[in-house]
């Protein structure tokens, strides 16, 4: 039982490592003093200031817009890609396709950003599109690297899904397209939702790729945060961080409550079925 002791210590150390910085961040967001680490009394003035920071608010709005759009496109493309990898068997170009899908997962941001910028510049020279850089180019860039995550989630969901469900539907007279929309899609819907949320978060989080492919007038929230952090600590960022952490935690908490309840209901049903069998 000594081992279990070591393991729980390790676990608690890990959680402390993960959460102490976030907790400190939240605590100091209510600090009166501008010197972030010196406690000057409780205050919410940084939140008030945050709400009047127009540059930050418009950047936040732009980021949300880009994240929503790119996540939506990424979900469509990523679902098709995941379906192809899990269900189409061997097709010509599969290796290339699989490579292009998984490589963005580990590709350093600086390379993705640079290569996409150079593509946009070259395209603009060649065909005049995209005309300058801004929301469109950021959205395309984010779609490209987030669809890889969606594809991996969908692929692993489909691999664990009994293929005979789709075969049964086909056997009962449904054409392949109908099988996808009536059988496959409803069953993998939770995976699609989590794929969308992941793509949204990743887009909202990205500073490097956006810095490369954005143009004047299209500054995203992470870019604003990055430049202000580079000049040192600012209590406003603490306030912003607290708001983001709160929103994310509440969202995840609610989601896990719902999932938990469904899971429990399902277990109860299954138990009843066995007993009543």
């Amino acid at each position: 039982m000594k081992r279990m002791g070591f393991l729980s210590w390790a676990l608690w150390f890990g959680y402390a490592f993960l959460y102490v910085p976030i907790v400190l961040l939240i605590v100091y967001s209510f600090n009166e003093s501008r010197l972030v680490t010196v406690w000057g009394g409780f205050s919410t003035k940084w939140y008030a200031e945050l709400l009047h920071n127009d540059q930050l608010l418009s950047a936040a709005w732009l980021s949300l817009e880009v994240a929503a759009m790119s996540a939506t496109v990424a979900v469509v493309l990523g679902t098709i890609a995941g379906l192809a990898l899990a269900r189409f068997g061997r097709f010509r170009g599969r290796t290339l396709f699989g490579g292009m899908i998984t490589a963005p997962l580990v590709m350093p941001d600086v390379i993705t950003g640079l290569s996409l910028l150079l593509l946009f510049v070259a395209l603009e020279q060649l065909i005049g599109w995209p005309d300058g850089r801004g929301v469109t180019t950021i959205t395309i860039a984010h779609t490209t690297f987030t669809m890889a995550y969606v594809a991996v989630i969908i692929q692993s969901r489909l691999v664990s899904l009994d293929e005979s469900l789709e075969e049964a539907a086909m056997d009962l007279g449904a054409r392949p397209a109908k099988v996808f929309f009536v059988i496959t899609l409803p069953i993998i819907a939770p995976a699609i939702v989590s794929g969308w949320l992941l793509a949204f978060t990743l887009s909202l989080d990205d500073v490097v790729v956006a810095s490369f492919v954005s143009g004047p007038g299209s500054t995203t929230l992470p870019m604003v945060i990055f430049s202000s952090v580079k000049f040192g600590i600012s209590p406003q960022i603490n306030a912003l961080a607290t708001l983001m952490v709160t929103v994310v935690s509440v969202g995840i908490f609610i989601a896990s409550l719902i999932i938990n309840r469904q899971e429990r209901q399902k277990q109860r049903d299954e138990q009843m079925a066995v007993q009543g069998g």
């Binding site: 959680y15 098709i80 600086v110 640079l114 669809m147 989080d205 990055f226 960022i237």
Partner: protein, 307 residues
């Protein structure tokens, strides 16, 4: 006739597949070719700041035009010749390796403890590991600034306990970079480790114990080898992006914390030397090709095994 339907079926699949395929071709593969092309061109003061690779030469006397291809390897020669670049590459690998080891040291016991917790608790415990990942990466790095800087949390703590009297600053050092990167990439290590450890049959350890194996030896001879796929996947997931990391060394590292991502960024934004930046990117990519291929191989095998 026999293959009529098959062909229609394949055509339909092809049409569906074409959309993501073309997207990736255009926005993922072609850009690399362009980067490669530009890495072979010359830097000029123009918009865009590189000389075209292909030029039409008009010979007025003969009245003909010729296509001229201009390639120059000077950017790569510069990479090899200048200590700055070589050091940056080596330093990036060193920092990425150290980060990977730290993630493994902290992540493995966590993943193991979670995998051996009661089944009902595993989900929430894993959720706690992943939760920070859903909050902004930048903000998590930012949080460490307040902790590591002079007059920050650690400094104050040390002075309050009387261990130091001098101001103690960890910020703007390699150590700050190790801490920040380990912090950010830890979930990437824990996730695949947990996935393999959780699948492991606990009766294997009971069998080992029954056959007279002491717990630590059972761990070394049974658990550790069986979790190797998770260790490899997790290490690659941490190592590969770490090599090209930019944000963490930029915010937490000192001016002398050389990393290749920073060099690329500076060549591009500060020096506006696109060809050299491209050459740096291509060299970095070549550096990462082997680990990326291993990663894809592991990933592919996992997908096959899930079948």
């Amino acid at each position: 006739m026999i293959n009529r339907l098959r062909r229609i079926g394949l055509w339909g699949r092809g049409a569906v597949l074409a959309v993501p395929f073309l997207w990736l071709l255009l926005f993922f593969l072609v850009p690399f070719l362009i980067v490669f092309g530009i890495s072979l061109s010359e830097s000029v003061i123009a918009q865009p700041p590189y000389a075209p690779l292909v030029q039409w030469l008009v010979d007025e006397d003969a009245g003909t035009t010729k296509l001229q291809l201009l390639l120059n390897l000077s950017n790569y020669l510069r990479l090899g010749g200048d200590d700055l670049y070589v050091l940056a590459y080596l330093n990036s690998v060193k920092i990425a390796l150290i980060t990977t080891v730290f993630c493994l040291l902290i992540g493995y016991p966590m993943a193991y403890a979670i995998a051996r917790a009661e089944p009902a608790k595993r989900g929430p415990l894993m959720m706690l590991v992943v939760l920070p990942f859903w909050t902004s990466f930048l903000i998590r790095i930012y949080a460490w600034i307040g902790i590591l800087k002079a007059n920050g949390v650690i400094d104050n703590l040390l002075r309050w306990t009387g261990l130091t009297t001098e101001p103690f600053e960890l910020l703007y050092s390699d150590w700050a970079v190790y801490i920040g990167m380990t912090y950010c990439y830890l979930p990437f290590m824990v996730l695949p480790l947990y996935a393999t450890l959780e699948k492991m049959d606990p009766t294997l350890l009971e069998a080992a114990a029954d056959l007279g194996c002491r717990p630590w030896k059972a761990f070394l001879t049974v658990t550790l080898p069986l979790s190797l796929p998770g260790i490899i996947a997790g290490s690659l997931l941490v190592f590969i992006p770490s090599v090209g990391e930019f944000v963490t060394p930029e915010l937490l590292g000192g001016p002398d914390t050389l990393m290749i991502g920073r060099v690329l960024w500076n060549e591009f934004f500060a020096n506006r030397d696109w060809p050299v930046a491209s050459a740096v990117a291509i060299a970095l990519l070549l550096f990462l090709v082997v680990p990326i291929m291993i990663f894809q191989h592991v990933q592919g095998r996992e997908a096959e095994a899930g079948r």
